[in-house]
Structures are given as structure tokens and as C-alpha cells.
Subunit: 228 residues, 2 copies
Amino acid sequence: MKDISELAEKLELTSFNNLELLEQSMVHRSYINEHEFKLGHNERLEFLGDAVLELVVSKDLYEKFPDKPEGQLTSIRAALVRKETLGEVADELQLHEYLKLSRGEAKSASNQMAILSNSVEALIGSIYLDQDLEVAQNFIEKYILSKTKRVLESGEHIDAKSQFQELAQKKDRSTPSYKVMSESGPDHNKIFEVAALINDKEIARGSGNSKQAAEMAAATAALEKYDK
Amino acid sequence: MKDISELAEKLELTSFNNLELLEQSMVHRSYINEHEFKLGHNERLEFLGDAVLELVVSKDLYEKFPDKPEGQLTSIRAALVRKETLGEVADELQLHEYLKLSRGEAKSASNQMAILSNSVEALIGSIYLDQDLEVAQNFIEKYILSKTKRVLESGEHIDAKSQFQELAQKKDRSTPSYKVMSESGPDHNKIFEVAALINDKEIARGSGNSKQAAEMAAATAALEKYDK
């Protein structure tokens, strides 16, 4: 376990006022069961950091892409703040060297990505609280917004179902659902037709050889209609 | 249709630099089909304003409630930024007098709440862009955070299903689902048993006389296990 002051140095945050706050950002809830830590685990910082991240990324995309509609901005943002992207940031910073976990959690690989990704949000929360929005913004620019070009080029932001869900939540504050309308063809080559619904109202249909493929097709068609 | 400068006065934003930006926050996408408006509709501003709102509310709740865990902060925030609350703000400001809609949309009542609530977010986006975060924060304090006490007292923030959904999205970046495990009893007094699942893994079960009631019970039980 490395000392937290090393992390501050790595982040060029040598003027950090309260290093305990930085330390708290690396404390997983499981650690608290086995040990004491005055400030508690990092989930409240994560709550705050998530919102800081969202605003900084939104402002940047708003300015960088004056011609993109909201739906596209939303899906680029989703790709930048998703678990996998933040997990990468955690790897770049070798955050696992500073994370405080229970022994059980440390051994189990299944949840590592979520824990690391959440600790990046908590880290952002601690930088924002101890320093200010500008310093948090510098961190986000360096480690997260720097990946925007790659996200765009690789198409990581194009997952029709997530994109449609984000958009439906923003526009109608509801979650899309999918309904199989028909199944046809022989067992080895079934064709599913699926409808994408919002508030039980059909927006569009799609079909494919699996339910998942048909749902993707329906979401893609629904996006066309929905995000103009 | 009232002049936008009246809205600026009402908001005590007489130093607004670009009134067109304020005007844009009141332009619904349906208006653009029938009329010209140089800056386009308000959805990009809404994208931005939503993130501003989220950060300001999160920071305030983080500071106001130092002892509440993340799950509770998340559900209070959800109650403050939901459609119904923002719709009230729109009513207080009589935003419908400034909103630019197509004739069809203006007549249809069904979508009014979402349109008004979205225009409040767009308004926040325009204040943030034209002025700064502090001015946007003043607006949010005056019209939205002022409702925190009422939200807490009335229990508007306690809807177990939404709370569980928010939390699951934050923690595991996935949406809970519900599955009927059994139905028993006579037709006039059925009992449903429902499981709340995350990533197809059962978190908890609940039962009730309708699917909806059983889902609520399952979500309540799941929250107990999930948000500690």
C-alpha cells in the first residue's frame, strides 16, 4: 500500500490542503467493516465527483461540437464516463496501489472494474472539494477528455440501446422497453421482430436472428425517429 | 407571447449579455418546424443545464447532510430534479408565456410537463453560459433547493423503485429488472412474488397483491441490502 502523498505528487496536487480527503477517496466500503477510518468510505465523494465529471464533460462537448444534437452529445458523454473508460484512468494512475479494500474484495476480481471506476469519481470529488472546480477540470481534461478523439474514432459511443435509453430518460424521464411482436422461421434460423416502446407507446420496430439483435435494430430505428 | 426581456427582468438578470441565448432556452423543437430561429431549439442548452443542475444540487446536499449516505443523497436529488418539481418552477415563473411551440404542441396537454421541465433545464444552461456558475447557482438555490425541506417532509424522495434504479445505475451502471417468481391465491386476491434483479442476479424478493406492489416491496428489500 503506497502512501497517499505519493498520489498527490503523481497528480501534481502538492498544494492539497486536506490529504485525508484524498485518502478517503480511495476507501472502499468493504474496508470500513474491518478497519477504522475517521472520514468513512468514499461513496459520498463519488456522488459529488460524478456530478463534477458530468458538468465538465458536458460543457466541453457542448463547446467542442457546436453542430451536434443533444442525443449525440449524450452518447459521447456516456462513453467518456462509463465504467470501462474510468477503469482505464484508474489503471493509468495505478490507483489499486492506493485503494483500501477488505481482503475479500481485494481477492475477488469480479467487481474490480466498478470499484476502480467509482474511486476515480471519488477522486474527482475530493479534488473539487479540497481545491476547486478549475483544478478538478484540469484533472478531467488530462485524463478523461483526452480520450474524446479515440471514443469518436472507435465508435465506442455508438450502442443504440444505451443511446436510446439515455435519450428517453432525458426527454421523457422514462426507460424504454422492448417487446417481441413475432417469431418466425425454423428453429435454427429464427427471426424475431421486436418493438421499442416508451411509456408503452411503440416508437419503432426492428428484426434480427436473436432478441438482442432485434432490440438493437429497433433501438437504432427508434433513435432515428426520436433524435432529430 | 411575452418578450424575453421581461423574463430576464423577472429573474433579475438585467445584465444578461446575449438575450438570444435566453430566448433559445424557450424554443421547443416543434417550433423550428414551422418557424425560423437562428440558434435552433433548446435541447443542447437542456443537455448543459441538466449537468449544471446536477452539480449544484449535489454539492448543496453533500454539504447540508454530512451524515446521509450516498443512496439517500441520490434519492433527495432525484426528487428535486424530477419532471414534477421542475414543472412547478416553470409554473412559478409562468414560463409558458415565453415558450415557443408549434401550434399542435401548444394544444396537446399530454407532453406539457416534460416540455416545461426541459425548458427549466435549458434556462439554467443559458444562465450558466451567458453569466457563470455562481449566477446559475443563485437561480437553483432560489427556485429548486428552496424545495428541499418540503421534499424531505413530504417523503417525495421515497419511491423505492426509482431510488433502487438510481443507485444501481450509479454503483453498477446497470438498470434493475423485476421478475414474477410465483402467483398464488384466488383471482380476486392474488399474491405475486417478485424478484428484483441486477444483471440477472437476484438481490431481493417482495410480494404484494399486484405486480406493482410486489415490485415496490422487492425494491425496498433490495435497497436495504444494497445501500449500506
